[in-house]
């Protein structure tokens, strides 16, 4: 397991345990660090402590027109951005972590986010 997978596992486990508190942000928030911010359709944020330093994590979900089918359908893609004081440190996506694990994280986050808690509490 490499350091990126360890980081992702840490995020996933802490989210499952409820240690990390995810807030749902505006779709167009953090546009200075996100590529193609116009295709973002949902965005969450949390803060994680790593080596006595606090980092911001953005969970970004994107949808974009699929060129393979003449742009008739939309494709889905998600990524995790790790920021330190607004600066991008690293990105985790399906090239580094399996898409299934990212989907697991999203399913947990969307039920434990501040807006979801407000709705279902």
């Amino acid at each position: 397991m490499n350091k990126y997978e360890k980081l992702f596992d840490d995020i996933l486990n802490k989210t499952k345990l409820g240690v990390l508190e995810w807030r749902q942000l505006r779709k167009d928030a953090n546009s200075d660090v996100i590529f193609n911010v116009n295709v973002v359709w949902r965005q969450y944020s949390t803060t994680i402590e790593r080596n006595t330093h606090s980092f911001t994590i953005l969970l970004v979900e994107k949808k974009y027109d699929d060129p393979e089918f003449d742009l008739a359908y939309e494709k889905y893609r998600s990524e995790l951005l790790v920021l330190d004081e607004g600066e991008l440190v690293t990105t985790l996506d399906d090239s580094t972590v399996s898409a299934t694990d990212i989907a697991k994280l999203i399913s947990v986050v969307e039920t434990k986010s501040d807006k979801a808690k407000r709705l279902f509490s």
Partner: protein, 138 residues
């Protein structure tokens, strides 16, 4: 005399009828040939459209895989199963023909495949860049 005239008239009418039948068969023969040609042309056109669609989709697939492999951080070692899957998929999609060793593009493709077997991501990126520089459509 009257009988002779009638015979001549009948002969002329028969001649005209033969001429009409001959023209009709000549036109219908050409109509059949032209419709056959139109059908063959339509078939070729449909086949060419399908070929272009597949070519476009293959191009998209390879481009997406190249982007995915380029997004793997160079220090993400040992490679995760997700990264390996992307690299294996790209390896499958780099075309290697029978005479690949005879062309520069083919040799670059072989190099990409060879590097994708390893885990040196910097070399993989360079090999992909070399291969892409020989491809006009990726």
């Amino acid at each position: 005399m009257k009988f002779e005239l009638k015979r001549v008239w009948v002969t002329i009418q028969e001649g005209e009828s033969d001429l009409f039948d001959h023209n009709l068969s000549w036109y219908s023969e050409w109509a059949s040939i032209i419709s056959l040609l139109v059908a063959i042309l339509s078939l070729a056109l449909v086949k060419s459209i399908r070929k272009n669609i597949i070519k476009f989709r293959r191009k998209q697939r390879v481009s997406t895989l190249i982007e995915d492999v380029f997004r793997i951080p160079v220090d993400a070692l040992p490679l995760s199963s997700a990264s390996k899957s992307k690299m294996d998929a790209l390896k499958r999609n780099v075309p290697i023909g029978l005479f690949a060793r005879c062309t520069q593009r083919g040799r670059a493709g072989i190099e990409v495949r060879r590097h994708l077997d390893g885990s040196d991501l910097v070399s993989i990126r360079e090999a992909i860049n070399d291969w892409v520089s020989y491809s006009e459509d990726i």
